[in-house]
Amino acid sequence: MSANPPVLETREVTIRFGGLTAVSNFNISVPKGSIVGLIGPNGAGKTTCFNIITGFYKPTQGDVFLEGKRITGLPPHKVCEEGIARTFQNIRLFYNETVLQNVMIGGFVRQKSHWWMPPLLIPSCTREERELRDRAMALLDSVGLGKLAGEISSSLPYGAQRRLEIARALATKPKFLLLDEPAAGMNPQESQELMDFIKRIRTDFDLTILLIEHDMKVVMGVCEHIWVLDYGILIAEGNPEQIRTNPKVIEAYLGEEATQNA
């Protein structure tokens, strides 16, 4: 791995739900500026890991560090304030709101004015809100949704909804972005576009990205480093080439027999 210091580090993270150990001894270290992947068969615990990192679950053991700062057990909104943003496996937009409003809601976490200011017509608040609106518009333009800013978000086509969800996450000004199956339900052309898009936002927004994905073409195409999770345990890590040829990974995905026959 590169010499960059890790943006995100997890140390021996374990979570149990009753008697079930969903994730155990989860250790990853994500270098700054990289795009990395977390893969594994269904039910391996990938989304659980995301939920631990973003504060939705509190790990039974272990710690999560963001740029060396311990963020274990912080509530989700604090984690977001610290600079981690995420998207969801099944898109979760604010469906009654417009595209622009969705992105502005993302920007709220960096807003300084208080709730009682707008009714009292405080000038600094009005100014901040105008800036926020302009920034949200600029962000939408940069992800190619500028023309749809006034549309209700539920009326958007699927691919655009995915992109809007990422734009909304970007509006929180994250250092670290978690994408949960960004290519789910996309055709090959759309996933190709998505790969370019992910690479572009990494440079444009100076991000580090961790993604969960089942589409191997996408994973192998964008990730510089991959972790493989099976039954809550990390079974392999390495660059795409190492992962592709790792017998343990093939076994986890295709079963033991396949490896023997191979």
Binding site: I105, W115, M117, P118
Partner: protein
């Protein structure tokens, strides 16, 4: 998006408010007391509906505690505007205890105090109760409103118990009521159209996503609930001064139900809807009084049945829920653009 028409909208809004004031001035001089009372009720019901809409329609918290907040506002403000002589006269079971027996305040301050007292209580109960969601929240807040009512019935040295307060000065004329109504409307329009309003709607639409976006959903649910309680208290205070007599029985669940009906009929998540709903339902409630009087249809004679209009209203609510769940306005709001577009046929939709 809207910038080019901002000054035009401001002019039109000012004109509309001016027109309303001219109408109220005319009404005040020319209409009989009964019609003025209905106009007053429309204003107060608007304040109540707007405040419940903030809690239920915009933030998605199903609250049935409105009558409780109204009671707080009504009692606090009434105690502040009742003259000491009147207080001595009505507290016949037990005398009013000290600070309340001498406290006096001008009407505006008294109403404001009623609002703040309700908001404070809203804040206190919000912290435990808002950990619940959905129907559970509805039941908990309903229970809270009932507790307030029972406490007020038994807190005789302060509330005069079941006898209630009589002879409250009738300050709440048409100007006070519409003044407060416009103030509430202005406050809520500014709030809802700000990014904070977007955040409330985000909490309503998807709380999990809102938390992931860095929104402290619990805090803002408490804030929204308390603002709603504040305006419910204002509405209660005005109502008390308008009808000059209050007692704990008045603040039963039926009062909350009336407000809820207005909000649902007008449209959850539409301020415009709440205003229209208040006007329509208040007028209908009065107009429908004829069904409770004896009716002759040809040779057929019907005796008046008291309470019949509430039956009709319950039916109406069921019909709304069955056939037009989004209410009159849905989540849409009135805007000058849409009105102008409607009249100039060439204009594109929206």
């Amino acid at each position: 998006m809207k910038t080019p028409n901002k000054s035009r909208d401001l002019t039109l809004t000012t004109a509309a408010v001016g027109l309303l004031l001219v109408f109220l001035w005319w009404a005040n001089g020319h209409l009989d007391n009964y019609k003025i009372q209905v106009l007053n009720l429309i204003a107060i019901n608007s304040i109540l509906a707007l405040s419940l809409n903030l809690i239920y329609g915009f933030t998605g918290m199903f609250s049935l505690g409105h009558a409780g907040f109204m009671a707080i506002g009504a009692y606090v403000s009434s105690l502040l505007i009742l003259p000491p002589v009147q207080k001595e006269m009505i507290y016949i079971l037990q005398p009013l205890i000290w600070p309340f027996s001498v406290l006096q305040a001008p009407f505006f301050i008294a109403v404001l105090a009623g609002g703040f007292a309700a908001a404070l209580l809203g804040l206190i109960i919000a912290i435990p109760v808002l950990r619940l969601g959905g129907d559970y929240l509805g039941i908990a807040t309903l229970g809270f409103a009932e507790i307030i009512r029972v406490v007020f019935t038994n807190l005789t040295p302060i509330t005069n118990g079941a006898l209630g307060l009589k002879g409250i000065p009738n300050y709440a004329n048409i100007w006070w009521n519409y003044g407060w109504c416009l103030l509430t409307l202005f406050f809520l329009i500014r709030l809802i159209n700000s990014n904070f309003g977007n955040v409330l709607k985000a909490i309503r639409d998807d709380e999990v996503a809102a938390r992931a976006m860095g929104i402290n959903t619990f805090k803002y649910r408490v804030v929204s609930f308390s603002i709603g309680a504040f305006f419910a208290g204002i509405g209660g205070a005005l109502m008390a001064s308008l009808i000059t007599t209050i007692d704990p029985k008045m603040f039963s669940f039926l009062l909350t139900f009336n407000v809820l009906m207005i909000v649902v009929a007008g449209g959850l998540g539409s301020l415009t809807g709440s205003i229209i709903g208040s006007a329509v339902i208040t007028v209908l409630l009065e107009w429908l009084r004829f069904v409770e009087n004896p009716i002759d249809i040809g040779s057929f004679h019907l005796d008046g049945i008291p309470g019949m209009r509430m039956v009709i209203f319950s039916l109406l609510l069921i019909l709304i829920i069955l056939f037009r769940r989004e209410g009159i306005m849905g989540m849409r709001e009135f805007s000058w653009d849409s009105l102008i577009n409607r009249f100039s046929r060439g204009g594109e939709a929206r």
